[in-house]
Amino acid sequence: MRVFMFHLMPYQYMDMDYQKRYRAAWVVLPNTEFDPKKGHELYNRYLDELELCAELGFDGIAVNEHHQTAYGLMPSPVVMASALSRRTKDCKIAILGNAFGLREHPLTLAEEHAMIDNITAGRVITGMVRGVGCEYFSFGANPAQSHDRFHEAHDLVVRAWTEPGPFAFEGKFYNFEYVNVWPRPYQQPHPPIWAPSMGSLETIEWASHPSRKYVYLQNYSAVKSVQRYLTMYRAIAEKTWGYTAASEQLGWGAPTYLAETDAKARDEAQVHIESLFNKFLAKTPEMMFPPGYMSASSAANMEQHKKQIRGNVTVDGLIEQGIILCGSPKTVLARLTEAHKLLGFQNFLALLQFGTLPRDLTEKNIRLFAAEVMPALQRLTDKEFVGMDLAAAG
């Protein structure tokens, strides 16, 4: 298994009572709530944490994109990936993801990813995402065109990376006379593309297509949902597309916290993980799912999810549902090994910093994970996977 550290880079100094004044920590939280001096401290601390993971032997480090929010300070994950590219030597740098379709000119991102791929001799992983609903407010991008525009931006970028330029691109949303990206990516035919998701049939069908076979990454989900969606990927590959998906095409991402004992881990994580789910992630259903962002069937399914995001989340509920992994190294390793046996995912992304988790606890968490959990995970192979249980995709 390949093991990654995933960072969201939250603005930890957010006023935790902001909900009395603003409807969300996204889009409408005034940027006067951001203090650049604290921003300086946080950016450098968070980059230190990712660099530490690179030194400790993680297979990769991962950054992501969100806009106009205290949830994550990376409107451009490319900037973070660039900073990491010269400070790390061997690990993958995963940009999970960039919202290519939100851009008026997606080739600017294609150029930047290719640049980092050259600098790092091919260590870039490109995540392609539509962006969460809030981004459509922030960007003024039309949510009703989200899927179509995402697909067209993807096609444009992959063609730009793989076909000799210059050529003309004639699309619905994008029209360019000269597509001729310099530099070409270091990796051939192009950097691996991943599709991070919170669970979407449309994304799975698209990512698993035989012409793509992209890594599908399930984030922020109860272990039951992880099982459902990863099995769905295998089932669609088998039944719809007629091939057997490799376990390397599947990934799971989860907040992870370790301490010497289960009780200590729970107590240390509590306030910080609850801040992530109840404060940083909190947003209204209208911001999360603007019209057209989801298909009618997905929107109907989401009614349940909407209730979840309104509710008050507790550390015990998160542990019980398996949305987070929290406990002693032995407990967390046992949970992951058991999940791997059932699901066979060959990529795991640990969110080892979350919410308000401070520097000292984050470093302790990273070191414990790297020493006592990661080596055993990295030894896991497809041999330990018991095989697809189709009932789990139901």
């Binding site: 459509y136 407010f137 003024g140 039309n142 009703a144 019209p291 109907a300």
Partner: protein, 257 residues
Amino acid sequence: MTQTIDVRGCKTNVRRMGKGPTLLFLHGMRGLDDDPPFLRQLAARFDVVAPDHPGFGKSDDPAWLDSIGDLAYFYADFIEALSLREIHLVGHSIGGWIALQLAVRSCERLRSLSLVSSAGIRVKGIPRADTFMVSPEELGQLLFVDGKLAREFVERESDPQRFGFNFKNQVTSAKLTWQPRLCDPQLEKWLHRVSVPTFILWGDSDRVIPPQYAEALHAAIAGSTVKILPECGHVPTVEKPDEFVGAIAGFIEKAAS
């Protein structure tokens, strides 16, 4: 009362009732019920034609639909398909925007134009409400002065029986009006081309498109007249139906004379 007509391959649901001069009513973002009372009232005096726009209600959602301008061209085809002439065109909210886009292209088939709480233009410094950002409860309060009507609106929005209808209308509304929100900054350049008698009707308490927009349209369209309805929000057809029908009929009877 309702019929489906085929306009160049787009199946369009149309309510048609009454006798008299032709009145083509273009609805707003939330679509139109099968038999709204204000249309019944208008049908006592007019030959009322009230379609569901493509992408709304029971009409097709055609692949070509991307913009309000597309709907303006669609209605040029629609008018030809039904051989409508001497039309009194009435548009509410984004229906007013479609009507304006049609009128600046050609007023040939029009006899008059009525803009009710109309979207379309941008008045700098006077924002339109972001109806996509707010909860159904907040939206009810933005749309209506009358608290009871606001509560009824919320019930309709959350009625599972209406999920498909609401979903379709909201997605198409987003597709057509998201960016720039609820306006076309280019439109005002061409308002001089509106060459038929024009009536501008607004609620004094419209919190979606504030009444300053009525003044701006009045200033831009030569010879237009304005009426402001007291204690009325963004939806005069529901909040003040009698006053709405009286004002529209009064204007049209004068314009047609």
